[in-house]
Symmetry: none
Subunit: 417 residues, 2 copies
């Protein structure tokens, strides 16, 4: 089958709703986007559901579906994804958790669940509790992530992810850490619950005495004396995108969660310190890297991820979201000068909608374009949630968009003959 | 429930993509099609996925879905379909293969996998090896199909389709025939693999001495001294369309694979020597036969299949594809004069897209119309992939279109009361 290349741009949380601050338009509708409009005119458009209408997803699940996976089959808690984000290669039987450095008192009551959003010294703190051997021989791997976030992995015999974790909940401070308990009758769940609590207590003893925390105390900052865990999961067998489609794929992203998910599904992850995952990210640098991967490194499919649109949604900053969309649009103009649309399709989508007024992910469809070369053209000529409602991709799902791209690129198998 | 009649025209491989040779239009878009445009204006239109967006299907699977089946449930290799194409009624336990007459040397190396695309004498060659009784008592049924193709059935006790076949692959000549081996641990798979190899060797001994091959040798043509097998399958239980919908259905086609699939699902198959499955097929003859089945023979649903649009796609002949579409359009005009749209709906669809520039089946949606009588009308007034993108059937599936037809015809059961 004839092969072509493809570039997929993911604008995290791009989808929005009519906003009063923007005269009842969405950030994408009001933004001046000559290049997105051009792409819309050169292909198929629509608002696409991450999984199904009205179903809200996180960044992790949204990206799994963009990458062609069914999260119901491959998703088992956020833990394994955080582990991959931290560069920990999971082994069969490992149980992984997402964690926060937090502040607790001597009764294990949570004073601050993010240790005052600690940013400095987490590498040293994680190192101080990394490699602990628990009383039954289980090993604990701990690796810092961005800010207060940390990945934790229990590695040993007969472990299970069917346990409750120590996090008392995201809403309130002042609750005690939860003593983990098994969620089924297996000995492995009982053993793992016991292990997680032993780790929690022992890491508290180590962390509270750590020089970095003594320093923080002297500066009247919250100490990072606890690791608060949630999202227990084991890696399920997930055939890589190479195994499934024999495709060489790359992901350019600053956000390490997205990078972790990409690696989990067999997509090579490329980043750079200037890719911040925020408004100040180096967009030109990302574009150059993506262009290089396509034109020089012969990747079949390159995914370029931009995070800040989602941040603007969470912080209810519709103007900032519009501005970021316009910045991305001008980068698309830059890319269009360096890439031949007859050889390389360009698609644009999002992992979910983050409407500014909602300040959270919603189950709305996400604006999506597939353009270039011999893609059929529908009647949509400009980018926007309203315009895309009459597009030919409207109401399809993220998995559908993945398959349409694989088919255009020539990497699908024929069923039957 | 009120009953009506329906005619479904299948233009094999009709769907296409914007083509440079056609000013960026598709063959259907650029073709002058007053009658298809009329049908479009009298009903509902859309690009319909054979199974799901981006999923490529073969002719066999595509037709199964047009006929309302789920190929995941009923498809077990191409073998059984070829057997039905050849007029062999499969019994429970039979293992069927699709085969080629090919040319091998005395070391079983494949010299030509189609015996020089042999067309003459295959009936005699198949007869010479038909009815062989193997050493364990298994019987072999062999029946010629079009050109070099042949259907093979093993009939006996304790047989299995879980074996590898003798075909070394479609891409290259110069490889040896594969000695069949069982794909699971059952005695039936081991026995069937042994049987297939015994048949292969014994048929070689018979075929190489056959007068037709002596003649071919004297004319310096490739001899048809081997039967190369693939697509082992057993018939799965498939309730017929009569059992499921109590509908009397007919299929008019020159292509015997389509005829085989029709019979497999319980649709009566009608053909004629002048229906060639190619550009020179007798379209008027097909139309007259379909009209007769509707007006005189009281069939509830008549399917009329035209193959040449697919051939033009595979051979990258956009003009020929356009011309064939125009020929079919004039035949639709002829049919419209003889059939009352108020008594008989007319639908048009395809089994898959075969874009000329791709030269293979793709996962694009296929142009589809359901028109006539009391069918609701959308705003589409002319036939074409672009126009259909805003049609009311857009993004539905072949199974959906089947059910909509059954419902219009009055053959569906009410769920609930």
């Amino acid at each position: 089958m004839r092969k072509k290349q493809g570039l997929l741009m993911i604008l995290d949380g791009l989808g929005d709703r009519p906003n009063l601050e923007l005269n009842g338009m969405t950030p994408l509708e009001i933004a001046k986007t000559p290049n997105l409009d051009f792409l819309a005119s050169q292909g198929m458009c629509g608002n696409v559901y991450p999984i199904a209408p009205g179903l809200r997803v996180g960044t992790d699940v949204g990206h799994l579906h963009i990458f062609g996976c069914d999260s119901n089959k491959v998703y088992s808690g956020r833990g394994p994804i955080e582990a991959y984000s931290a560069g920990i290669e999971l082994m069969p039987g490992d149980v992984a958790f997402r964690g926060n450095f937090g502040t607790i008192d001597e009764n294990y009551t949570v004073i601050d669940r993010r240790a005052g959003r600690i940013r400095e010294g987490t590498k040293e703190l994680a190192a101080a509790i990394n490699g602990l051997i628990l009383s039954d021989g289980t090993q604990v791997i701990v690796k810092e992530l961005t800010e207060h976030r940390v990945a934790i992995v229990l590695r040993g015999n007969n472990l299970s992810d069917k346990i409750s974790c120590t996090d008392p909940g995201t809403a309130v401070e002042g609750e005690k850490l939860v003593i983990p308990s098994p969620l089924d009758d297996t000995s492995s769940a009982a053993k793992t619950a016991k292990n997680l609590w032993e780790f929690t207590m022992r890491s508290y003893e180590i962390l509270k005495e750590h020089p970095i925390n003594k320093q923080r105390l002297s500066k009247e900052l919250y100490v990072a004396n606890a690791v608060i865990t949630r999202g227990a999961g084991q890696k399920k067998y997930m055939p890589s995108i190479k195994e499934l489609y024999n495709i060489k794929a790359a992901c350019v992203a600053g956000d390490i969660t997205v990078g972790g998910i990409a690696q989990l599904v067999g997509i090579d992850y490329f980043s750079n310190e200037s890719f911040t995952g925020s408004f100040d990210t180096n967009l030109i640098g990302k574009a150059d890297m993506a262009i290089n991967l396509i034109n020089e490194k012969s990747y079949n499919w390159v995914v370029m991820h931009i995070k800040a649109t989602d941040l603007a949604g969470h912080d209810n900053l519709p103007i900032a979201k519009k501005d970021m969309i316009e910045k991305v649009d001008s980068i698309i103009g830059y890319i269009l000068k360096k890439i031949d649309l007859n050889k390389c399709y360009i698609a644009v989508t999002a992992d979910h909608s983050t409407p500014c007024e909602v300040r959270d992910h919603t189950g709305d469809g996400v604006p999506t374009i597939i353009a270039g070369g011999d893609v059929r053209k529908d009647s949509v000529n400009s980018a926007g949630e309203s315009q895309f409602m009459s597009g030919s991709l409207n109401n399809l799902t993220a998995n559908d968009i993945f398959m349409l791209q694989m088919d255009l690129l020539g990497f699908t198998e024929k069923v039957g003959s």
